[in-house]
Amino acid sequence: METIIQIHQLSKRFPVGNGEFTALNEVNLTFDKGEFTGLVGPSGSGKTTLLNIIGSLDAPSSGEVTVLGQSIAHLTHAQSAQLRNRHLGFIFQTYNLFPVYTVFENVEFALLLQHLPAAERRKAVMEALEWVGLTDKAQSRPAQLSGGESQRVAIARAMVKKPAIVLADEPTANLDSKNSHHILQTMLRLNQELQTTFLFATHDEKVMSYLRRIISLEDGRVVKDERIAAHSFIKSNS
C-alpha cells in the first residue's frame, strides 16, 4: 500500500495564559491510500487538532508531518492553499456551506479556484451531486435543505475535485441515525470507487461501525491503533 500521510513525533502546543497546553504529544502515525479511518477519543483528546494539522490549516509545534510528499511545516501560504485546493477535501460538523450560493455553486466553488472551464465544472458538479443523490436540489439554497441534505452537499463539495484525502470532523454529529447511515454509506462507496482516503474525527458509535481502522487518542497521545476486517453488512446495505 502507498503511504500518503506520514506523521513523525508530532507535538502541538497551544499558548494558554502564561504557559502552554500540549494538545498533541509525540504522535507517530502513517496512513495509506484508500484508508477509511477514524480518530476517536474523549473530548479534548486532540482529534480536531490532528485533522487540522494534516489539513495544513494549522502548523505542528514540533515533529514532522508529510502529506502527499509535502512537509506541512515548510509550506508557504500559497503552497498549502494549493495542497488543500487540489488534494484535500474537508467536511465539517456544521456543514459550512456558503449561504448565498446555490447547492450547485457551493459544489462548484473548488473548481472555480482551479480555473476549470465552465463545461467541465458543470459535468463534475452534476456527477458529484449524483454521488450524493441531490441532482434535483442543484438550484436550492442551503437554507432550504435538511441537515442530512446539507451534509451531503458538503460531501459533494469535498469530493467534486476527486481529492486524495477527505478530512471529516464529526460529520454526523448534527444528524439523526438514518441520515448518518446514509452519509456514511455514501462516503464508503466513494472510498471504494475512487480510492479516496477518508479520515474521521468522531465520537459516534455509528461512524465507528463503518471504520476499518480506529485510532484512539487520549490527552494528545495515540493509545490504541486497531485494524478491523471489512464489514460484511456494508454490501447488503448499499
Partner: protein
C-alpha cells in the same frame, strides 16, 4: 474574476442591507455630478457672458484706473494714440470713457457711472447700435432700470463735474434697456456715445480703458496697462472655487455616510462570516485571496451604485442639462454673472473623476476591515469562534 462573481453573489445575497448601501452611495454619486455640473455650467455661462459683455479679449487700462476705487476714475483718462484710434476704427479696440456722476430719479440722488462707448463698436455685445439712432439718448441695463424705476423713453437728470471741475447737468433720454447677466455693466451704469461724453467732460479723444476684440492682444504703451482675460476673470474663478468648496461639504457628508455604511457592513460581515472565511481557506484560497473577495465587494458596491445612479440620475441630470434650472436668487449681489437658468455641464473629466472617486473610496473602506482576515486563524474561523 472569481472575486467579482463571488462579491456580486454575496452582495445580492445580503438583500436589503446591500440595497441601502448602494442607494446612499448612488445618491452621493448623483449629487456630486449634479452639483459640480451645475457649477461648471454656471462657470462656462458666466465666463462667456463676461467675455462677450464686459471684458472682450482683455482690456487696456489707464494706469491710474482702479475699478474698486471710484476716486481714481477722475484722473484715469488719456488720449488715444494714433495707432489706437486706427485699431478702434478697425473694430479691434473699443475705447470706453468712465465718469462719476449723480443721477436724480424721482427727485432722489444716486451715484452712477457714465460710460462713453463708440455706438459702432462690435467688440462687446452691448446693443450700442441703439445709440446710433439716438445720439442724444442713453442705454441702461434691466437691473438699473428696475432700481431707478425707468423705462424706455423716460428722462433722467444727471449731474457731473467736467475735467476743469465745473458742475454741469443734463437730462438724458433712455433710448433702450438691455438684458444681460453681467452686473458690472448694468448696475449703476449709464451708457452714452463716447464722443458726447468726451464733449460733456471736455476731454476730446480721451478714454479710461479700451476693450480688445476677442483674440486680439494690443501692445502696451504708457500709460496703458494690459489686463488679460485671466486677470479680469480672477474674481469669477475665486467665487467658483468657493462654491465648489461649499458644495463639497454637502456631498462629502453624503459620501461619508455611504462609506461608513459600507465600512460598517464589511466589519459586521467579516465578523459574522468568519466560518465562511475559514471555509474559503479550507477549500484552498489563500488569505490574500479572501481579502481580495471582501475588498472587491466594496468595488462592486460602488459599481452597482454607479449603475443605479445612472438609471435614475441619468435622466434627471440630462433633463437639467437640456432645460436648465433656476438657481435660487441672491447670487445677483455677488457681482458676477448669473443667468436666470443654469444649464449644468457634465464634462468627461467630471464624470470619470467622480466614478473613480466613488470606486476607490468604496474599495478602500472595504479593504480596511478586510485586512483583519490576514491575522485570522483558519481553524478558529471554521468553528466560527468569536474573537
Amino acid at each position: 474574476m472569481i472575486a467579482i462573481q463571488l462579491a456580486l453573489k454575496n452582495i445580492l445575497g445580503a438583500g436589503w442591507r446591500s440595497l441601502l448601501n448602494i442607494a446612499v452611495l448612488s445618491l452621493a454619486f448623483v449629487i456630486i455630478l449634479w452639483h459640480n455640473g451645475t457649477i461648471d455650467g454656471w462657470n462656462q455661462q458666466a465666463r462667456k457672458d463676461t467675455q462677450e459683455w464686459e471684458i472682450g479679449g482683455g482690456q487696456l487700462w489707464h494706469s491710474a484706473y482702479d475699478p474698486l476705487d471710484p476716486l481714481s476714475i477722475q484722473d484715469a483718462h488719456a488720449p488715444l494714440s494714433a495707432d489706437m484710434t486706427r485699431l478702434a476704427g478697425q473694430g479691434q479696440l473699443a475705447p470706453i470713457l468712465a465718469v462719476q456722476a449723480s443721477a436724480f430719479p424721482q427727485g432722489r440722488m444716486q451715484g452712477v457711472l457714465l460710460k462713453g462707448i463708440d455706438p459702432e463698436q462690435k467688440v462687446l455685445k452691448i446693443p450700442t447700435e441703439i445709440l446710433q439712432k439716438n445720439p442724444d439718448g442713453a442705454l441702461i441695463g434691466k437691473r438699473m432700470a428696475q432700481a431707478l424705476k425707468l423705462k424706455t423713453g423716460d428722462a433722467l437728470l444727471v449731474r457731473w463735474r467736467d475735467s476743469q471741475g465745473a458742475f454741469d447737468a443734463l437730462e438724458l433720454n433712455i433710448a433702450g434697456i438691455f438684458d444681460c447677466n453681467v452686473p458690472s455693466i448694468d448696475a449703476g451704469q449709464i451708457w452714452l456715445p463716447i464722443e458726447r461724453l468726451q464733449t460733456m467732460m471736455n476731454l476730446p479723444g480721451e478714454a479710461t480703458l479700451m476693450v480688445a476684440a476677442s483674440g486680439f492682444r494690443p501692445a502696451e504703451t504708457s500709460p496703458w496697462v494690459f489686463q488679460s482675460e485671466d486677470v479680469l476673470l480672477a474674481d469669477l474663478n475665486t467665487i467658483i472655487q468657493s462654491k465648489k468648496g461649499s458644495g463639497a461639504v454637502l456631498y462629502g457628508l453624503l459620501m461619508i455616510i455611504a462609506l461608513l455604511a459600507i465600512f460598517d457592513t464589511q466589519v459586521l460581515s467579516i465578523f459574522r462570516r468568519q466560518r465562511e472565511i475559514g471555509t474559503y481557506i479550507a477549500l484552498g484560497m489563500t488569505r490574500r485571496q479572501v481579502i481580495g473577495i471582501f475588498t472587491v465587494e466594496g468595488s462592486v458596491y460602488s459599481i452597482l451604485a454607479i449603475v443605479l445612479g445612472a438609471l435614475y440620475g441619468g435622466p434627471f441630470l440630462w433633463y437639467l442639462a437640456k432645460y436648465g434650472w433656476a438657481m435660487p436668487t441672491g447670487g445677483q449681489d455677488m457681482g458676477i454673472s448669473i443667468s436666470d437658468r443654469i444649464y449644468p455641464v457634465y464634462g468627461t473629466g467630471l464624470v470619470l473623476g467622480t466614478i473613480i472617486l466613488v470606486v476607490i473610496a468604496a474599495t478602500v473602506v472595504s479593504f480596511l476591515p478586510a485586512r483583519k482576515i490576514a491575522r485570522l486563524n483558519p481553524t478558529d474561523a471554521i468553528k466560527g469562534k468569536i474573537q
